[in-house]
C-alpha cells in the first residue's frame, strides 16, 4: 500500500523499514540522535510539514508527523523543499551531497552526522523501499 509523502503514515512506514533492515542496524549501531525533518511549503504543500524520528543504535524508536513543533527539542533539524526531499526519498539526491550544496539545511552537530555516512546511506536505502505516493 502506497503512503503519501509527507505524512504520519509515511514516516511510520519508514520507521518500520529501518527496524527491518539489518544493513541499517549494523551501520548505525553506534549512533543515536533524533530529528525534525521539515518539508517546506511549496509545490503540493500549502504549509510546512514536520516529521519526527528518533534513531537509537540501529533502530527507530519512534516516528510521527508533528502537530506542535514545540512538543520536542530534537538534536537535529533538517529542512528542504518538497522537490528536494522527493529526490532524497527516490534516491536521486545523496543527502550528504545535498547538505554540502545547501539544498538540505541542517541544524545540529554536523560532525556527528559526518561520523555516520554509511548509516545515512542505509537510511536513504530504506526510504526508497517505502511504497510512496507523491502528490502532484
Amino acid at each position: 500500500m502506497a503512503h503519501r509523502f509527507p505524512s504520519d503514515a509515511w514516516i511510520k512506514a519508514l520507521c518500520a523499514e529501518l527496524n527491518a533492515s539489518e544493513a541499517y542496524a549494523n551501520a548505525a549501531k553506534n549512533w543515536e540522535g533524533d530529528f525534525y525533518f521539515i518539508v517546506e511549503a511549496g509545490g503540493p504543500l500549502e504549509k510546512d510539514v514536520w516529521l519526527y524520528m528518533d534513531l537509537w543504535h540501529g533502530k527507530c524508536r519512534e516516528a510521527f508527523e508533528v502537530t506542535d513543533p514545540a512538543s520536542k527539542s530534537p538534536e537535529f533539524v533538517m529542512s528542504a523543499s518538497y522537490e528536494d526531499w522527493k529526490k532524497v526519498v527516490l534516491g536521486e539526491l545523496d543527502p550528504i551531497k545535498g547538505l554540502i550544496s545547501r539544498r538540505l539545511k541542517l541544524k545540529g552537530n554536523m560532525n556527528k552526522i559526518m561520523r555516520a555516512p554509511q548509516a545515512a546511506k542505509e537510511l536513504v536505502a530504506c526510504c526508497t523501499k517505502v511504497e510512496t505516493e507523491f502528490p502532484a
Binding site: 545523496d94 551531497k97 547538505l99 554536523m110 560532525n111 554509511q118
Partner: protein, 387 residues
C-alpha cells in the same frame, strides 16, 4: 548540481616568481623545521619581501599535525594580522595552514568542528597561497584538512569548500631534492587519489579526465623520479600529476583504499601515502565484482587488457603491484614491519576506524564488518583478494 573548485594554479619551472607580484601588507608562512633547514622558507620570504610584504613564519607544524598545533598557529596569526597566509611544505603544512586560516578568520570555530556544511565567510581578513614541496597529497588544490586528535589516536577528515587556496604554486624547484622514499610514498598517494577519484560513486564529468591523465603521468614518471631525483622532466610531470590528481579527488571524492589507509596510518603511524598506496591493489581487486568501478575505462586508457571489468581490474592491480615493486614500496602490512601479534591485537580497532571513515560510503563496493577484517588480514599477508 555540484561544483568544481580550483585555485589559480601557477605551475612549472620558476612558478615561485609569482610571489613577487603578490599585493598585500603582511604574509604569514605556515611550515615546518625541514623547510627552514632546506632554505625554502628563505626563498619564499625573500620573494614576498621583494613584493613589499612584511613576513612572519610559524615553523612548528609536525608530521600528522594535531588539533593543538592548529590552535597555536591561529593564535600566532591573530597576533600578526596577515592578509596572506602561505602554506609551504607537504600535506601536513598545507592542511595546518588551512585550519589555522579558518580559525584566524573565525575565532569562534574549533578545528575539530570544521565541516563542509557550514558557511564560514572566509577571505574577510586574508587569502591563502599553497606551495607544495612533495608530489603527492594534492592539498595545494583540495578543500580537505586532515588533523590528528592525539587523545583518541584518530585522524579527522575535515574541510570546507571555502578553504580551497586562492593561488597554488606548483614549482618543481621545491621537489628536486626530495628523498627517494618520500618520492615513492607521496607518488603512491597521488596514484591512489587519481584511481579513487575515478572509481568513487561521486565521480563526475569534470573530474574523470583529470584522474585518467594523472594515472598515466604517474605510471610513466614515478619510477624515473624515484630512480633519479635529478631527472627534472620526471620531477615536473610528477609534481603536476599530484596536483591534477588532487583536483580530481577534491571535486569528486575518495574510496576504500583511503578508509583502510587512514585506519592503519592512525593506529600504526604509517606515512599517509605509504598506507593508502599499500591498499590500492587490494581494493581494486575487491571492488571489481561490483561492476561499478569503471576499471575497464582506466585499463583501456593505459593500453591494458580491458575486455570486461574483472579482467581490467586484475590487469590494473597487477600494474600497480609492478609499479610498487619498481619503487621498492611495501606490498603488505607485514612488510611494513608490523608484528602479527600487534596487528591481531589492533584488528578490531582497525575495522572500527575504517568502517566509520567518511571515504567508505563512496566506495564502489562497501564491505561489511567481516569483509573489512578480511581485507586487513589479506593485506597483512599479501594475498590477492578472492572474495
Amino acid at each position: 548540481m555540484w561544483y568544481f573548485d580550483s585555485p589559480h594554479i601557477v605551475y612549472g619551472e620558476d612558478a615561485r616568481c609569482v610571489l613577487e607580484t603578490v599585493e598585500g601588507r603582511r604574509a604569514f608562512i605556515v611550515t615546518d623545521p625541514t623547510m627552514v633547514r632546506l632554505g625554502f622558507v628563505d626563498e619564499v620570504r625573500r620573494r614576498l619581501e621583494s613584493a613589499g610584504l612584511e613576513v612572519a613564519v610559524f615553523s612548528e607544524v609536525e608530521p600528522e599535525p594535531s588539533l593543538q598545533t592548529a590552535v597555536r598557529g591561529a593564535e600566532a596569526m591573530r597576533a600578526f594580522e596577515p592578509d596572506w597566509i602561505v602554506g609551504l611544505g607537504g600535506g601536513s603544512c598545507l592542511d595546518a595552514a588551512k585550519a589555522m586560516w579558518i580559525m584566524y578568520e573565525r575565532p569562534d570555530v574549533t578545528p575539530d568542528s570544521i565541516n563542509p556544511f557550514d558557511t564560514y565567510h572566509l577571505r574577510q581578513k586574508a587569502r591563502l597561497i599553497t606551495i607544495p614541496t612533495t608530489s603527492g597529497t594534492g592539498s595545494e588544490v583540495t578543500w580537505a584538512i586532515v588533523l590528528t586528535d592525539t587523545a583518541e589516536q584518530r585522524k579527522l577528515g575535515l574541510g570546507t569548500r571555502e578553504c580551497v587556496a586562492d593561488i597554488a604554486i606548483v614549482d618543481p624547484y621545491f621537489v628536486q631534492g626530495m628523498p627517494a622514499r618520500l618520492t615513492a610514498d607521496t607518488g603512491m598517494d597521488a596514484l591512489t587519489h587519481a584511481f579513487e577519484a575515478y572509481v568513487n560513486t561521486w565521480h563526475n564529468d569534470f573530474s574523470d579526465g583529470l584522474a585518467l591523465q594523472a594515472i598515466k603521468l604517474i605510471f610513466t614518471y614515478l619510477p624515473r623520479a624515484y630512480r633519479d631525483g635529478k631527472d627534472m622532466e620526471a620531477r615536473e610531470h610528477m609534481h603536476n600529476a599530484a596536483t591534477i590528481a588532487g583536483l580530481a579527488c577534491s571535486n569528486s571524492l575518495f574510496a576504500l583504499a583511503h578508509s583502510l589507509g587512514h585506519s592503519l596510518g592512525a593506529l600504526f603511524h604509517i606515512p599517509h601515502g605509504r598506507a593508502v598506496g599499500l591498499f590500492l591493489p587490494y581494493t581494486i581487486e575487491y571492488s571489481a565484482p561490483s561492476g561499478a568501478a569503471r576499471y575497464a575505462d582506466i585499463a583501456r586508457f593505459l593500453g591494458l587488457p580491458a575486455d570486461d571489468e574483472e579482467t581490467a581490474a586484475w590487469a590494473l592491480s597487477a600494474r600497480v603491484r609492478q609499479l610498487m615493486h619498481e619503487i621498492d614500496q611495501p606490498q603488505s602490512i607485514a612488510a611494513l614491519g608490523i608484528a602479527r601479534a600487534d596487528f591481531d591485537a589492533q584488528l578490531e580497532a582497525l575495522v572500527d576506524r575504517a568502517e566509520s571513515d567518511s571515504q567508505t560510503v563512496t566506495s564502489p563496493r562497501v564491505p561489511d564488518r567481516g569483509e573489512f577484517a578480511r581485507l586487513f588480514v589479506y593485506a597483512y599477508e599479501g594475498r590477492p583478494i578472492d572474495f
